[in-house]
Symmetry: C2
Subunit: 272 residues, 2 copies
């Protein structure tokens, strides 16, 4: 296997850019290809079967870009398709949920963990299940946050309405006296300071983005797939929707130069 | 002393809002009053005598707002006026430089510390001096970054020009193989991810904002000046320049709702 190949990252939209952000900071010498499937966003409105087809198409396209590892930077796609992808492809494929569940179990002292996530993620029960497999004695408080990701993506992330929304979703976590909270959606790191102010410094916040970046780094190291340390990595973008809108919204999520975005037709994905 | 009084924070402009940001996250139950002396920004163009007069005026005004502690969230004002202020007022007054120097000496393993700061701060020699007092065996590499704070304040913080600028200032730190870098200007946390990507995860970044917030928290605790833990703190803003411009630029630095900004005439400051 050629360790100089890029790493593939995909998501239904721009949320996964918080994951790419952390990967770029952690692994500055690696190359990345990011695909945002914005043409079919949001994934929540599609059936599980559809999500599995999309994920296979996208991973196939990333494989055609000669990636050495794939990161599923999306809760919906991970929940719907990760095992399918792992059976279908030879590439190492890493998803969300397990890395942050592991970190949260390591971090909690009171053995009370909170999870903030979308309605679909909470309903999937995956966080509760994975945390239970790691420590059956942990008490998990899950809070579904309908509309929070949309507000972060489309609204002013620093207004009073956001503070009120954050306060509301944190209330059950405060009542449950959790000492560790998983930000179980790739959009949530953008309001991390607001969450920390609401929950207090004593509460450890575990973000999918950071844990996934750590998981990628460790996987590359263990598999001997890391690129040369002294080179400077590059990264590029493709999306299935409007590339101008992707670049504009994505900038806030990436917090690094975004550059040109290639638009991919669904037929190009399917052909890969 | 009444522990329910607010904490005063001042700066020549919006940079100190990164300090207030960290204070708001660390001390959500405390009240704050922030004064940005934007009417006389930048402080670098004034004489040391002028800066001392400004700092005395501002601290007097904060005292008239009944604050219990003052944070000088500005390198120029700290370098020029901190001892003067401490001799002149009964209030506890905390400045930059010493908190982050202390944290950097604690953090370094190789005993090689880098400092990124404005030209004036590097020329003042304060970081080198304070670090030397804490550990005379530490090798300090200071890099003056002319224009970096201006670019962060006025430009696109995520464009390629910023990457090039960050790369340039990091080069001497990479050559010196420092393992700890002080972000010696309150503007620099806005490009923290870019700096971390350039320097690598192995390098500890120490930001004035975080260390100052920790210093404030510890001072309140030791002096028994902390407000009730279970209340929700409030914060308000005043500036000596255009309040609309302050709110617009400041938003990126505060990363929390900024709300209305009161405009203060220099005469009101002087009268306090």
């Amino acid at each position: 296997v050629d360790a100089s190949r890029p790493i593939g990252v995909f998501d239904s939209g721009v949320g996964g850019l918080t994951v790419l952000h952390e990967c770029l900071v952690t692994l500055p010498h690696e190359d990345f290809v990011y695909l945002g499937d914005t043409g079919r966003f949001p994934y929540g409105q599609h059936s599980l079967d559809d999500l599995r087809s999309f994920a296979i198409e996208i991973t196939g396209w990333l494989e055609s870009q000669d990636v050495k590892l794939v990161v599923v930077a999306c809760n919906s796609a991970t929940a719907a398709a990760l095992p399918t992808l792992q059976r279908h492809f030879d590439l190492p494929i890493i998803g969300v949920v397990t890395p942050e569940a592991h970190a949260a179990v390591q971090a909690t002292r009171a053995r009370r963990i909170g999870v903030l996530a979308t309605v679909a993620t909470v309903e999937s029960g995956r966080y509760r299940e994975v945390i239970g497999e790691l420590d059956a004695g942990v008490e998990v408080t899950e809070v579904a946050c309908p509309g929070l990701a949309d507000r972060i993506q489309d609204g002013d992330p620093y207004d009073e309405a956001m503070v009120a929304h954050v306060r509301e979703v944190c209330a059950p976590l405060r009542s449950a006296a959790v000492d560790t909270v998983i930000l179980g959606c790739t959009h949530y790191p953008l309001v991390r300071p607001m969450l920390q102010r609401e929950l207090g410094r004593g509460v450890t916040l575990v973000a999918a983005a950071e844990e996934l970046a750590g998981e990628v780094a460790e996987t590359l190291r263990r598999k001997g797939l890391g690129n040369d340390d002294d080179r400077r990595g590059e990264y590029r973008f493709a999306c299935t929707g409007d590339p101008v809108a992707f670049a504009r919204t994505g900038q806030r999520f990436l917090q690094l130069p975004l550059g040109p975005v290639r638009q991919l037709a669904p037929s190009e994905l399917a052909a890969a």
